[in-house]
């Protein structure tokens, strides 16, 4: 019990830091990182519903993420940057995600896990090809740049002082940028909370039961294929919503930010590092991974400069080799935390 508490404390600390991050970390890049962490926590948590809780291996999670992002992007670009078009684009993206998830689920969740994984891989490849081919609509490889709703514009004064200038609280301008950040934060926190409710509900126990013993789950009266399809749809629509939120924040949507397999691999790494089937681990995994992607290079630059006088070390620590070090860190994490960070803290190293 105390171990679970420790994991929750770490994850809640992360959420707490995210809540205050515009005040704690005021650089543009830092706010960028904080928003990305919030979105990826949701993305990874929704993937954990599949892989960690139900034992479904899917490679199409970025495709659903992309549906939501492109939904908003296309609506904003083709229509206007109003909330009406935002809602339209989000709903369209979520609807497409739900329909595609139902189709993939009903057609192929009956088959063996490996075939299902292959089918999701094929679907994700098709989505990626479509995004680059339908360049009239999607902007192709270049993606789409658009404006988000006016309330999020930097020039928008959320709060003003007596002179009519934008109010500063603790040195932070209360402008559209801060509104955009808190839009991202609260929608992501809400989605994360909803997923916690799902895994803590009777449905959550059924999902774990399917992972543990599919045949017996069916035997005591649960239609496994229906439950699998349902969780696949829940995960897909959540990913699509996360995509819509991220697209609103970035004001740019392209294959590299939403659809690429590189992101799919990131999600897999995050869920493994955090701990599969723990939900809270998603917060830990996503945070560590995003921080490493943004700051490992900087850290190595400092380290290389500090070791300048020593032979060989500066070469090894050169920022160009950051991926090598990321790989080493990943191997060490898996070695010392075989069940992921959250999983290993909760269950101990033996299991």
């Amino acid at each position: 019990m105390n171990r679970t508490f420790a994991v929750k404390a770490i994850a809640l600390t992360i959420w707490g830091l995210l809540l205050f991050s515009p005040f704690l970390f005021q650089e543009v890049r830092q706010v960028e990182v904080a928003a990305r962490i919030a979105v990826f926590i949701v993305l990874v948590a929704s993937y954990d519903l599949l892989i960690g809780y139900t034992g479904i291996v899917s490679f199409a999670h970025t495709m659903f993420f992309g549906f939501g992002a492109y939904g908003v992007a296309i609506a904003m670009k083709q229509g206007d940057n109003t909330w009406g078009f935002w809602i339209l684009g989000t709903l369209a993206g979520v609807l497409v995600a739900a329909v595609v998830a139902v189709l993939i689920g009903l057609l192929s969740l009956r088959v063996k896990a490996i075939f299902f994984a292959m089918i999701t891989l094929a679907a994700a490849s098709v989505a990626l090809v479509l995004a680059s081919q339908l360049s009239g609509l999607t902007g192709g490889e270049d993606g789409i740049t658009y404006r988000s709703p006016d309330v999020f514009k930097s020039a928008n004064k959320l709060l003003t002082d007596e002179e009519g200038k934008v109010l500063r609280i603790a040195g932070v301008r209360m402008n559209g940028k801060i509104a955009a950040y808190y839009f991202v934060f609260f929608t992501c926190a809400l989605m994360f909370w909803m997923m916690l409710r799902i895994v803590g509900s009777p449905l959550g126990t059924v999902l774990k039961a399917i992972r543990e013993n599919e045949a017996r789950t069916e035997g005591i009266g649960y239609r496994v294929v229906a439950y699998r399809t349902a969780v696949f749809v829940i995960a897909a629509t959540t990913a699509a919503l996360a995509g819509a939120v991220y697209a609103t924040w970035l004001k740019y949507t392209g294959p590299d930010t939403t659809l690429s397999f590189a992101i799919m691999i990131d999600i897999l790494l995050m869920v493994v590092i955090g701990g599969m089937g723990t939900m809270w681990g998603a917060a830990i995994g996503a945070t560590l991974m995003v921080l490493a992607q943004y700051y490992l290079r900087d850290l190595m630059e400092v380290a290389a400069a500090a070791t300048e006088a020593i032979p060989l070390l500066p070469v090894l620590l050169s920022p160009d080799r950051w991926l090598l070090w990321l790989g080493i860190i990943f191997i060490l994490l898996v070695y010392f935390f075989p069940a992921g960070i959250a999983g290993t803290i909760i269950r101990g190293r033996k299991s």
């Binding site: 909803m194 509900s201 449905l203 774990k208 013993n213 035997g219 005591i220 009266g221 829940i234």
Partner: protein
Amino acid sequence: MTHPSLSTRDLTIRFGGHTAVNAVTCDFRPGELTVIVGPNGAGKTTYFNMISGQLTPSTGTVEKDGIDLTRMPASQRARHGVGRAFQLTNLFPKLSVLENIRLAVQAQAGEGRRFFTPVAKLTELTARAERYLEATKLADKAELPAAALPHGDQRKLEVALLMAMEPDIYMFDEPTAGMSLDHAPDVLDLIAEIKHDHTKTVLLVEHKMDVVRQLADRIIVLHNGELIADGDPGEVMSSQVVKDVYLGNAGELA
């Protein structure tokens, strides 16, 4: 005589050229405990699998209270009141003992689709699950993962899981297999209790003759996939055909 609650008609399954169960026609009635005996490979478990839905027969039908179950998936049969415990322990190893039982309780209560209410708030489900844990003397192990239980307790949990489904048809496949002598009576007492309810239909595959004598109202004998004897325990056990079958198979019934 009461109406049969469960019937199989000409139930047959072939695997390639091999007929594992051949045209078994049999009725089972509420309040009756039928023991199915037969040498290894006689088709007892295969027969069970076709009734509970793990296998679909090649020909023939399975009916419960007039409803044709033959093509239904196992989950739907379970909801129609056909419950099955397995020969090899078949639990949810990483879930706690309580969670194992609660799964069956919430399936029976039709609550498995609730996706937003915390489990902790559904106290009624937990209370029902705890009753089954007490009945099977597992209450003090409720929080342990099922995999951590000793074999005897896992067998008990298997029975508790079946009881928690509250079925009309109870199917036990060698419930005491591999259990030590001091644990087996617990499980047998539970089965006797179900039997004394007089409204439940109980099917039991069992090798141990003392168990058969203690519980059986009726015995049917399967041999090479065919039903070769059916009747009162004393009558069946002393019949020549049964003796032949078992003597030809190293006298397992000795």
